[in-house]
């Protein structure tokens, strides 16, 4: 006996020590990839990379509000000056005049960068037309500034390049900085060097911006004066991480205190309390270790859900203590009579959580494995370790009075008669079914943003800033891929020709292309070889200026520059690095392992107008860029989530089926199975209907919550079932243990409802009322056992 006890303890300690070691060495991920697909298709992979590491993920939108316009502009300028020196940012832009350096770069490489350069342009007639136009421009305001450049750039290539680059829309500016349409906000955009998914780096970048703001004289505390607001994916990720961490820590502490207080009140014994927490803690450690071993890394959000485990595994020790330790005789009784019920309850829960395992979301997979291994560990500890640790004569306070009082209450309700009970159950079922059926089309929220830890208000603010900046979230992207930068630049140029036709036809409003910033080497080579040699150019120029108000001799610098370009190397991405053009170029290039992708974001022909992607694809095909893809970012990510949602619903139904079969096998009576399942189904339906009536759209986290209702509630229902078929008494103790177990569950999950994190709120508002209802329905539905008759 003692040897056996020792053996149990050694095995347990060994397991816990190993698990703790694994937990300590595990890698933890805190980005949002828990909700991105695990085995993506190539398009999905691109989408995921976009969301995680794409240029858009590296944007930080900076807004200055309050105070007066001049102060905002001054602060903005001063901040930019600081941030531009910081290597954490690849670019910082608030709309001020571009640097001299950029202009020099463009001017130096004008014959390679200008789209107008071709052999015809450098024929005598072409030169004549180009020079005539430049002179015409001098007559108009747009050209006068270029007059000093005329001797070197008589064909006006710099103006051409500037026009090329000016195709992207820009926000209005005031006092030299970008402002919102109503002028109330000064705007700027910073692009970080680090990926958007690198939350630590994003956090440092955010701190740097705040510091720059404070150093420029801004006040970080709210009050009068100019206020700094930041938005963007990185800002959201950092805030979400902090929020989830805060919520998880705070709520875990509060719920632990409350549950401990509750248990202390019930047990009136510190050793009992300490031992009672063993199953939970063992379960948590084993759960995390299992996830770490199974997945290689643990998502932070999985830990955040650790609280869910308290919900069920604390129950085990409550059942054990209350049911077995009311008297010495009860112990053996419990092992024979009630342990099989706890075991069956645990197995039904495992069935439920197993349905999360095949999910495409790593976050849900992990939650499933965590719950299953944690529950099994907690149940085993309850069954084998707790008895081994307890002295045989250990008893806790008699809690039967609690059970008795509850039994009396139930009895009073039951007095309305079985017919009335049946009727009201049927009415409730009808009502909930009607509500759910009525809203069946909008029941589930199929947008990925539903899971976002970012509040609706913050999302709206972000959208407003983007609208202000004229950079409304890009929805459609044309993507061309290739093995190297040159290939994708060539394909971008081909795609651009097709897209330009669409832009001319107003099918799209416009587009961007990395080749605007850096033409392919092939294109540059073609342009360079279209430049005539010095002798030829001199002759042609002489003919070209005939009849024009400019003398060929004045254009000697032009001849020199063209000749220099003919012998100069082509422009590469490395040359771009020094200039601010690099930010624009970088933003449109995405490197994935051995593949390069060029992104060509499309703009709608009018605000709020959808792009006809079918026509875009057709045009690209005709243009010979058959391998170009059109990606609708929002639709694609929503489709992704909708897929997972319907998959999860399917798997959950599968889990429910497995659970039913398990019960059929264990209970060997369809009637009993119905009795066990009916209260669970009713509470799930009632909670779902309640949420719908409160205007909540269900998400995948609500589904997980429903699984938890079934997991936890099945224990209750099984106890009542067992009770009804048990020959022996002890019913008040059972009832008391169920009520206390439920109270701890409701406390744990009820607290989640008060968090700021939508996913946790979804879980809390589903599970807390759901488990309570499951207990209530199971208790009311249970046939009055003999034990009750005796007491009342």
């Amino acid at each position: 006996m003692t040897m056996r006890r020792m053996g149990v303890l050694v095995v347990w300690l060994g397991c816990v020590a190993f698990a703790a070691l694994v937990v300590a060495r595990a890698r933890y991920i805190t980005d949002l990839s828990a909700f991105l697909p695990a085995d993506p298709t190539p398009v999905q992979q691109l989408l995921v990379d976009q969301l995680r590491d794409g240029p858009a993920s590296r944007l930080i939108l900076i807004a200055l509000e309050q105070g007066d316009a001049a102060d905002r502009a001054r602060l903005s300028a001063s901040m930019m000056e600081r941030l531009r020196k910081d290597s954490q940012f690849t670019s910082v832009n608030n709309g001020d005049a571009p640097g001299q350096r950029d202009r020099e770069f463009l001017f130096q490489h004008r014959y390679l960068l200008s789209e107008a350069v071709n052999p015809e342009r450098f024929s005598a007639a072409g030169l004549n037309a180009a020079i005539r136009e430049t002179i015409d421009n001098l007559a108009s305001p747009a050209g006068l500034l270029f007059k000093s450049l005329l001797p070197r750039d008589p064909t006006g290539e710099l103006l051409n390049i500037l026009d090329q680059l000016a195709r992207a829309p820009v926000p209005p500016s005031r006092d030299g900085v970008w402002v919102s349409a109503d002028g109330s906000r000064a705007l700027a955009v910073a692009q970080t060097t680090a990926n958007g998914s690198d939350s630590d780096a994003q956090q440092r970048a955010i701190e740097t911006i705040r510091t720059a703001f404070a150093a420029a004289g801004g006040s970080l505390t709210s009050g009068h004066g100019v206020q700094l607001h930041l938005s963007g994916p990185g800002v959201f990720a950092v805030a979400a991480r902090a929020k989830i961490e805060r919520a998880a820590v705070r709520l875990s502490i509060i719920s632990s205190i409350l549950v401990v207080a509750l248990l202390l009140m019930v047990y009136r014994s510190l050793p009992a309390l300490g031992l009672g927490l063993l199953p939970v803690t063992t379960g948590a450690v084993v759960g995390v270790a299992a996830v770490a071993l199974g997945f290689g890394a643990v998502h932070g959000i999985t830990l955040g859900f650790g609280i869910t485990l308290i919900g069920e595994s604390v129950d085990y020790s409550i059942y054990f203590f209350i049911q077995s330790r009311q008297s010495v005789a009860a112990d053996r009784n419990w092992r024979q009579l009630w342990w099989p019920t706890v075991r069956l309850g645990m197995l039904t829960s495992v069935c439920g959580f197993a349905s999360l395992l095949p999910s495409g979301f790593p976050g849900l997979k992990q939650l499933g494995l965590y719950s299953i291994s944690g529950l099994i560990a907690a149940a085993l500890v309850t069954r084998f370790v707790l008895p081994a640790l307890l002295p045989l004569d250990f008893t806790i306070r008699d809690v039967k009075p609690i059970g008795r009082r509850v039994a009396q209450l139930l009895e009073r309700v039951r007095r309305i008669g079985p017919a009335a009970m049946m009727l009201s159950s049927a009415a409730l079922l009808m009502l909930t079914a009607t509500v759910l059926y009525h809203d069946r089309d909008t029941l589930w929220n199929r947008e990925l943003s539903a899971l976002s830890p970012v509040s609706h208000k913050e999302q709206q603010y972000d959208a407003r800033l983007r609208t202000d900046l004229g950079a409304a979230d890009v929805r459609e992207l044309v993507i061309v891929s290739g093995a190297d930068v040159e290939t994708i630049l060539r394909n971008s140029e081909r795609a651009a020709r097709a897209l330009q036709v669409l832009a001319d036809d107003k099918v799209i409003g416009g587009f961007e292309s990395p080749a605007y910033y850096l033409p392919s080497l092939a294109t540059q080579e073609a342009r360079r070889s279209s430049l005539p040699d010095a002798t030829n150019l001199r002759v042609r120029l002489k003919q070209a200026v005939e009849g024009l108000p400019v003398r060929a001799e004045r254009l000697q610098p032009f001849l020199e520059d063209v000749e220099a370009t003919r012998h100069a190397p082509l422009v590469t991405a490395r040359d771009l690095a020094g200039s601010s053009l690099n930010a624009g170029f970088d933003a449109l290039i995405l490197h994935q392992q051995d593949r390069w992708n060029a992104l060509l974001p499309l703009r709608g022909a009018a605000p709020d107008q959808d792009i006809d992607t079918v026509r875009v694809i057709a045009a690209l095909h005709e243009g010979g860029v058959a391998d170009a893809r059109v990606l609708d970012l929002k639709q694609e990510s929503d489709a992704l989530y909708a897929d997972y949602l319907s998959q999860a619903i399917r798997f959950s139904l599968g889990g429910f089926l497995a659970l039913t079969i398990l019960l059929l096998v264990a209970l060997r009576s369809p009637r009993r199975v119905v009795r066990v399942l009916l209260p669970l189904a009713m509470s799930v339906l009632t909670v779902a209907a309640g949420l719908v009536l409160c205007g909540v759209q269900l998400t995948i986290l609500h589904l997980v919550g429903m699984l938890l209702i079934v997991a936890v509630g099945s224990n209750y229902a099984l106890f009542f079932d067992r009770q009804a078929h048990a020959a022996e008494g002890g019913n008040d103790a059972i009832l008391a243990s169920l009520v206390i177990a439920n109270a701890s569950t409701v406390i744990g999950f009820g607290l989640l409802s008060f968090s700021q994190v939508p996913v946790l709120v979804a879980l809390g508002t589903t599970v807390a009322p759901g488990t309570f209802l499951a207990l209530l329905f199971a208790a009311l539905g249970a046939p009055a056992a003999d034990g009750h008759a005796q007491h009342s």
Partner: protein, 195 residues
């Protein structure tokens, strides 16, 4: 994007036009002329603008119509040699040419302000605005006056050496702008005959 500042500058240059005036004897009451100008709510004149640029062997010419609406809207519609519209309203300048349209914030480019404000502040009869930016000198009589404006600010001095506006009562007749490099533009105004 990079084009904007330069275009802005050039656009504004255009607006500035140029002027010259033969200066009759001095008249001390600048206020009187400003008062007359300030009373006009709308104005519409045709212009012919000539630019004399050292880089070219002969001057280039453009023409069109200028419209003014008090207090601060100025529109310059160039018809020849190329259609182009510039609208100055408040602190922003909108330029349309062919299918392209650009909006530019004036405060961003202090060097172009003298081109704009010399004409607009004069049309508005806003003496204080003029004197904020220029050293103002008036010559002639109410019937025939000449306003000579010399920029005060260093940024402005780099782009404009001097603006001379010729007028008769509340009409502007000629605007000449001389640049520090010796180039100049001359805008001659006359009542509009355009539809």
């Amino acid at each position: 994007m990079r084009a904007l500042p330069m275009l802005a500058l050039s656009v504004l240059c255009a607006l500035c036009g140029s002027a010259a005036a033969s200066a009759p004897p001095a008249l001390d009451d600048l206020n009187e002329i400003m008062g007359l100008l300030a009373m006009r709510q709308h104005g519409r004149v045709e212009f012919i603008e000539q630019r004399f640029l050292a880089v070219l062997s002969r001057p280039i010419e453009s023409s069109g119509e200028l419209r003014y609406d008090a207090p601060d809207r100025l529109e310059k519609r160039t018809l020849l040699p190329h259609a182009e519209t510039l609208v100055l309203s408040g602190g922003t300048l909108t330029m349309e040419r062919g299918s392209s349209r650009r909006v530019i914030d004036l405060n961003t480019y202090p060097q172009i302000r003298p081109f704009i404000e010399s004409l607009r502040a004069t049309l508005a009869g806003d003496r204080s605005a003029l004197e904020r930016l220029f050293h103002v000198d008036l010559a002639g009589s109410l019937a025939r006056w000449t306003l000579t404006l010399v920029p005060l600010e260093s940024n402005a001095k780099q782009s404009v050496a001097q603006v001379r506006i010729d007028g008769a009562r509340d009409q502007l007749l000629r605007v000449e702008i001389r640049q520090p490099d010796g180039d100049r533009s001359l805008m001659t105004l006359r009542p509009s005959t355009l539809p």
